[in-house]
Each structure stands twice: as structure tokens, then as C-alpha cells.
């Protein structure tokens, strides 16, 4: 693969971007283009595959190879492409309905197989393109067009789902924090294996403000916990609070009172058990005594990628048996000849 010195602008297409004004997708598009430029990859070596939904218009706005496929199947299509062409940089753009509802099956199986692709899950907790029905990540009792008296469903926690499917890279970011989103996109890109990046994205038409407690300046520092590898888990206006483990149970402590920074849980992306604890920090932020919502890399592990094992097996058998001889195969082992 060749390396280039492209800028973010080189990844914009000549098509008008047609998301609603104010949609969180604009920011994500910008951060992705900036990240792509930073990778040094040539445009022709990158493929974006999407499903159906607002987010899935993404490929049309990105000057690489792209496919806007069908609802829920981007992950399945990307799996085949990556298996066939391991050298390509494959990105999947999907939403909470696309990848967790209609396409849930393919999502978990892609993660299990650990294809080296990047899944960008734009989570806005609503169906936007179909004009406002609740999604599998919507909070309980959600009032929407399809649930005028409140939804009955318990929502998915996407991070837990990804960890449960044994994803080897699981992270969360948000549309309103460009620097963090870029860092997470780069980390997802650099990870060898399936990267699952959940991006909180505001739908200002059908679900406006659903994440504002995490994204607005007035509450962000109190409500979010940005995780840094090897560092104690701190949050608050000036990092005065932290997360301490009481056995397996995370609790909020104030530094300088009973505990110092040395008592806090240290973030270790490679520790699956800690990742599970962090994933469970999924409280309703409007309830009393809730824990802050973590952002950053929950987990990063190593496992062989499907496409590499597939290629290795093919190469090994080709070396062992030699390149296939079609005439020998067509004749088989039991031939008889008829002469007239």
C-alpha cells in the first residue's frame, strides 16, 4: 500500500451533504476525514461500507471506495470483502438500529471472528430516517411516534454487547468532542482486529439533547469519565473525584478526603475484567447517586484475525498439495474409457 500526504479536504466528495442542519453526523464526518488524512493511506485502498439509516449516507460523502448497502448488512458485506482482500482498510458506518436491531446478528459474528475492520456505530438512540421511532438503545419508557404511551423495551448497552461478543477493541466517544473522537478513530484504525467504536451522536430533530448531560460544558466534567491508559480514573471539574474499586464494585470518591489518587482504579485497556466493570457504569445520569459515563477505550486485546487465518490455511494447503490441477480434479479417481 502506498502512503500519501492527503488532507481532510481530499476525502470530501463532490456530493452535497444532506444531513439535517445541526446533525451530529457533520462533526463525525469531519473527524473521520481528518483521521483518514493522518493515516497516510491512499484513497483507493480504503473502503467504507454502510447499511441503511441516516449515518449510512456516509460513503457518498467520502472520497474512497464505498458501498451504501442494505439495512443491517454492512457488517456481513464487509466481512466478505475483508476475507477476500485483507490488504484493504475497511470501515463500517452504521447506526443503533442498523447494527443492533436488524443487523445485530452480523455485528456479533463479525466481532467474534475478529476481522480487522473498524465499526463506527453512530448511536443517537432513535430511528431518524424513518422519522422518529424508538431504537434498541433508547431509554426505557421512551415516548416516540411508535410508542405514544412509552416504550416497553429494555435497551442494549452497546459496550457490554461488544464485550460479550468478544470484540478485541471496544471504545466510546462523542460527536461533540472532536479531539477525543479523532483520538478514538485513530486508535480504532491502529488496532489489529475488529474495532468497535460507539459514538454518541445527537439527532437534533427526533431526539435532541439525549446526550447533552455528557456533552454540554455545564455538566460534562461531572458526568463523564475519560479513561487514559495507565492512569487513575479521575473526573470532576478539576479531576477532584475518582473511581475506586470496593472489591468488584466501583464507587465515587473525592480525592483528598479519605482517599488519595493512589487509591483509584488504574485504567488498563488490556484487562477484560476491568473492562466489564467499566462497561457496567451505565447508570441513568438523571438518577441520584449514579456513576459517571466512561469514554475512551474500554478494552483492547489480541486475537488472530479471521482473514489472516483464512489466508494462512489457503497458503498452507496450496504449498502442501501444489496449485490445483483442474484436469486431474475433473477426472477424479475412477475413470473408465469407452472406445468405439
Amino acid at each position: 500500500m502506498s502512503t500519501t500526504t492527503l488532507t481532510a479536504k481530499d476525502f470530501a466528495t463532490d456530493q452535497d451533504v444532506r444531513w439535517c442542519p445541526g446533525c451530529g453526523d457533520y462533526s463525525i464526518l469531519k473527524q473521520v476525514h481528518t483521521t483518514l488524512a493522518a493515516t497516510g493511506l491512499a484513497r483507493e485502498d480504503i473502503v467504507f461500507i454502510s447499511g441503511i439509516g441516516c449515518s449510512s449516507r456516509f460513503p457518498y460523502y467520502t472520497e474512497t471506495f464505498g458501498m451504501h448497502s442494505i439495512h443491517g448488512r454492512a457488517t456481513a458485506i464487509a466481512s466478505g470483502l475483508k476475507a477476500a482482500r485483507p490488504e484493504l482498510s475497511v470501515w463500517i458506518v452504521t447506526g443503533d438500529g442498523d447494527s443492533l436491531s436488524i443487523g445485530g446478528n452480523h455485528t456479533i459474528h463479525l466481532l467474534r471472528r475478529n476481522f480487522d475492520v473498524n465499526i463506527l456505530l453512530f448511536n443517537n438512540q432513535i430511528y431518524g430516517l424513518t422519522k422518529g421511532q424508538y431504537s434498541p438503545t433508547s431509554e426505557e419508557k421512551k415516548i416516540t411516534k411508535s410508542t405514544p404511551y412509552g416504550s416497553l423495551d429494555h435497551p442494549f448497552n452497546p459496550i457490554s454487547l461488544a464485550l460479550g461478543a468478544e470484540a478485541t477493541f471496544v471504545a466510546r466517544s462523542m460527536d461533540r468532542d472532536p479531539a477525543h473522537l479523532q483520538a478514538m478513530l485513530m486508535a480504532a484504525y491502529k488496532h489489529k482486529g475488529a474495532s468497535f467504536l460507539e459514538i454518541y451522536q445527537n439527532c437534533n430533530i427526533f431526539n435532541d439533547g439525549t446526550f447533552e448531560i455528557f456533552t454540554e460544558k455545564s455538566s460534562k466534567r461531572q458526568e463523564t469519565l475519560f479513561m487514559t491508559q495507565g492512569q487513575p480514573l479521575r473526573f470532576g471539574e478539576n479531576g477532584e473525584k475518582g473511581i475506586r474499586l470496593d472489591g468488584m464494585v466501583p464507587q465515587i470518591v473525592t480525592i483528598g478526603e479519605q482517599y488519595s489518587a493512589d487509591d483509584l482504579m488504574i485504567h488498563d485497556e488490556m484487562n477484560i475484567n476491568k473492562a466489564w466493570i467499566l462497561a457496567q457504569m451505565f447508570d441513568n445520569p438523571y438518577k441520584e447517586n449514579h456513576l459517571p459515563r466512561p469514554f475512551g477505550v474500554f478494552y483492547r486485546g489480541e486475537r488472530a484475525c479471521y482473514e489472516d487465518i483464512m489466508k494462512a490455511q489457503l497458503d498452507e494447503l496450496t504449498t502442501k498439495k501444489g496449485k490445483g490441477d483442474l484436469d486431474k480434479l475433473l477426472a477424479g479417481n475412477e475413470v473408465w474409457e469407452i472406445q468405439n
Binding site: H68, G80, L81, A84, W336
Partner: protein, 615 residues
Amino acid sequence: MSTTKTIIPLEQVVIKFAGDSGDGMQLTGTQFTNTTALFGNDLGTFPDFPAEIRAPQGTVAGVSGFQLHFGSTEIYTPGDMCDVLVAMNAAALKVNLKQLKRGGIIIANTSGFDVKNLRLAGVAKNPLEDDSLEGFELYQLDVTKLTREAIADLDLGTKEKDRGKNMFVLGFLYWMFDRDMDNTIKFLTDKFSKNASVLEANLRVLKAGYAYGETTETFSSRYKVEKAKMPAGKYRSMMGNHAMALGIVAAAHQSGLPVFLGTYPITPASDILHELAKYKNFNIRTYQAEDEIAGICSAIGASFGGHLGVTTTSGPGMALKTEAMGLATMLEIPLVIINVQRAGPSTGMPTKTEQADLLQAYYGRNGECPIPIIAAQSPSDCFHAAFEACKIAVQHMTPVIVLSDGYIANGAEPWRFPTSSQLGNIEVKFASPIENGDKFMPYQRDEKLTRPWAIPGTKGLEHRIGGIEKQNITGNISYDPQNHELMVHLREDKVEKIADYIPEQKIDSGKDTGKVLILGWGGTYGALKAATKDCISEGMEVSHAHVRYIRPFPKNFESLLKRFDKILVPEINNGQLIRILRDRFLIPAIPYNKIQGVPFMKGELVEKIKSVYNS
């Protein structure tokens, strides 16, 4: 003790091997088939599996059968009625007796007719002991006892010893039809190379069966079926699903393309996956996806990347793949979709055959969504159908549906296999890089109306495609009314244009004009051919044509139909091709339908042809 045995020459014979699903009847049938093929007879087979993997032992539901028709003349079907019925137990006799000719031979394993087996089969009286089998030639062998005796000294458990029962029967039939045992001896030697005592047991039982026929006075006659006169060349025995897999391998080889098979197991198509999974050194990747949808979608992804994407399935899986077939039609990329049809709807009867899904293949998608359809007509023809489908897919940038069915998928026949040089190359063109900064036009078409195959990794070809309607030439999203109509017509014209590149429709038997044309498609080929030939030999002005290219039809198709007074369309369904014929050509064709999960018998076809001819 040795006796003089009469040898009776026969032109053709139909044998049915029937027993419990644990009795090894499929293996016995396959071995007899291979030996018979190697000897030089023409043949056709029809395995008849029980629906359950391990149905209750001894019951009617657990009966597994294998029918073989072989002869010194041309054989087109596995045969209507049997000459010889091997019944390993009471249930096997009960299920198959109605298919035995009057005067036919029954070889019954007496230990399969004990009190317990009679009860399990739901038979009140032992048919071997009353006069219910009068009019048949009944031979009673205590196969279980004879098998145990042959290997009494071997250190094996009773259960293991009893597994050899089928070899005793096979050996006996080899004697009865004067076949040599070398092929089966070699097969057993390979199969049990790591288990000396089991090998020894099988070989001894096989030979004991042969010797039993030779030395027992009960059997006074043997039968001889001479070699068939077939076109000169090299032959092998071939089953439909195996042939389908080889057709794909051959297409990969002759096109230089890697193959990606994305699929999900389903009866009766899974054997194509099992076969292809063996051929990795032919640059073939097989991917057992999480479901039918992922099977086709992964193949679409691979095709987008420049591989030949293939997916295999049966009716219910086809239903699940429908939306993705529409996507492939919009993307205009190569994709081969193989449907080994079974009785439907829904789960239907998975182990039973039916020409169930032609209308689904032809019409069954949302929107105007034309996909070429090729129907395989016999076990070995699956090879050619798959090869041609791959060729059309890559040269016309389109998904292609191949229809097979459970009957030809599991049936076998002698195949005069081609060499790679006879197959010819499949030329594939990928779009070239653009270095000068010009914008690539993904929906710019050539003289075949196909768009370029532009694969990722090629400089200057970055483009976006998808399921949304696209602007002609640029491929950008377009909701323009005129453009949509244009694109619908372009996609249809592209598929219709394939007619310029496929052979014209031929008459298979009979003259190219006449009173009745018997028109079929798919797996009914052998039965229709046999029936038509019989009618022709009786002086009737009838002809048989078999449609292989159903979408588009060959260019001369309509004019050919119009040269006959009447068109009879026999199908193993409730009338599907006939609806398409009426739709396309407004012709008053006459249906003849059988929807019983089993193939046509020659006899019933002849009767129908006569009644149409004479009416």
C-alpha cells in the same frame, strides 16, 4: 458344493436397496453404482433419504432407499418400477413393495422380519410367511446370522459385526449381476486403512455374500447386463451437487479469478459447500456465514473486491437472500446464486425434490429486478450450468441464479468429463487505473450494456455504489423520475441482451415441428426424454425440448414454440414455467403437474402425452 447357474441376459435393470437408515443402504447403492459405472453400463440413480437423521429404528419413517437403473442401452432416469428390491427389514418392504414390478425379485433379510421389526413397521402378519408376496420371486436370507458367522472369530462386538450386513448384501448382488469386487475392495481398503480388524471384517463379509450366491442351490440364475454403447471418451460417475462444485472450480480456474463461497448449511445444498471446502489449493475460499443473509452478503462483499462471489442455498434460504439479490442487481456486480430446490413452501419437505422455486427466481423480489436464470437438467449437467452461470456473471456484471433440485443434486450418472482446454477461458476485464485525474464513471456501459468492474485498490477509481437508485453513468444518488425509468429499462435490457451470447434453443428429441411439443426445464430432463422417445417409437409426431436458459429465453425460443400445435409442460410443481410462458408469449400451453416430492415416472408421462396427442 457347486451348482450350475443359468445366466440370463438383460438389457436393463432397476434395483432398489432399502433398509433402516442405519443399515448403510446409501453406501451399498453408491458402491454398486460405481462398480456398474466402471464396468461400462449407462445408469441413473435416485437416493431417497428419510427426513430424520436417526429416525426410530425399524419404523417406516426410518427407511432409507437407493434406486439404481443401469443398462446396456441409454438410461435417462433412475427407473419407474423396480426389478429387484432388497429389503433389510419389514418396514423397507412395506414402503417399497408397491414400486416392485409383478414377478420382480425380493431379497429379504429374515432377521429384519422378527416380531419386534414387524411391530415397529406396523405389520400384523409376517409377509414372508403368508401368501401376500405371491407373484414375486422371494429370496430369504438371514443376513444378520450369515454376517456374524462369516466373522465369528474376529475380536469385534456384535454391534460392530452387524454393521457389515450391507457388505454381505452387496457381495451377493455382485454375484447375482456378475460384477467384480475389486472397486469395492479398494474402497474399503482406503476407508479402513487405520482399522485392520474392521477392514478384515468388511472384506470377509463382502466375499461371503458373493460366495453365498455361488454355492447355495436356492439361487439358480444370475443376470448379465452388457456394456452400454456410449460415445467414445473418458467417463466417471458424477452426482449433481459434486458437479456443481466442480463447475465453480473450473470457472475459477478458467477465469483466473479467486472464488469466495459465502453460504449457510441447508438441505439439500450443503454438499456443494462440503465439496468446495476441499479445494482451497484452487484459490477457493469457503465461508460458513452466520445465516443465509450473511452468506449472500459476504459473497457480494467479495465480488465488490474482485473475487467471484458465490452463494448456495435452497428455497427457504433463497427467500432470506431476496433483498440482497436486489442489492446485487442494483450494484451490477457478478454473483452466482445456486438454489438446490426442495419441496416447499416454508420448511416443506427438505429431503424431497420439487421444481419449487422458478417463480421465486423469476419474479420474487421487490421492484423491477431481473436476474438471469439457468436450470441444470441432470446430475452431470450441474457442472456446465455452474460454469456458464459464472461466465455470464463476470462477463455481463450481473447476479445469476442457477436452479438445481434435490433429485439431480443427489442423483448420479456417467459423465464424459471435459478437459480444461475444451472448456475454454473465461475472459475477465477489470477497469484500469485512472492516472490523469479524470473522474471515473461507474455506470458507463459497454456494448453488452454492462458497467465496469472497478475494484478497490485501483488508483483513480474511487466511487460509491449502493441500493439507492443511481444516476445513469455517474452512479450518484438520483430520485429523478425519468432517470429511474431509464435505469429500470437499462437493467432489464442488459439481462435481455445476454440472449445474444447464449446458444439457441434446440429440440432434444423429435422433429422441429409437429403435433405436440413436450417442454420441460431442470431435473425432469431424463424422464421427459425417455417418455418422448417411447412415443416417437410408437409413431407419434411429438418432440421434446428442454429449456436451460429461462431468463433470458434464447432468441429463437418463441418461434420454436409456435411450430407445434400443442405444447405440454410437465413440471414437478403446481405450474410455474407454464405461467411464465403464458406471461411472455400468450400461448395456450397444457400443464401436467406432479407435486408429491418425487420425480416423474416415464409411464405416467407417456400416458399423459398420449392423451394430449389424441385429444
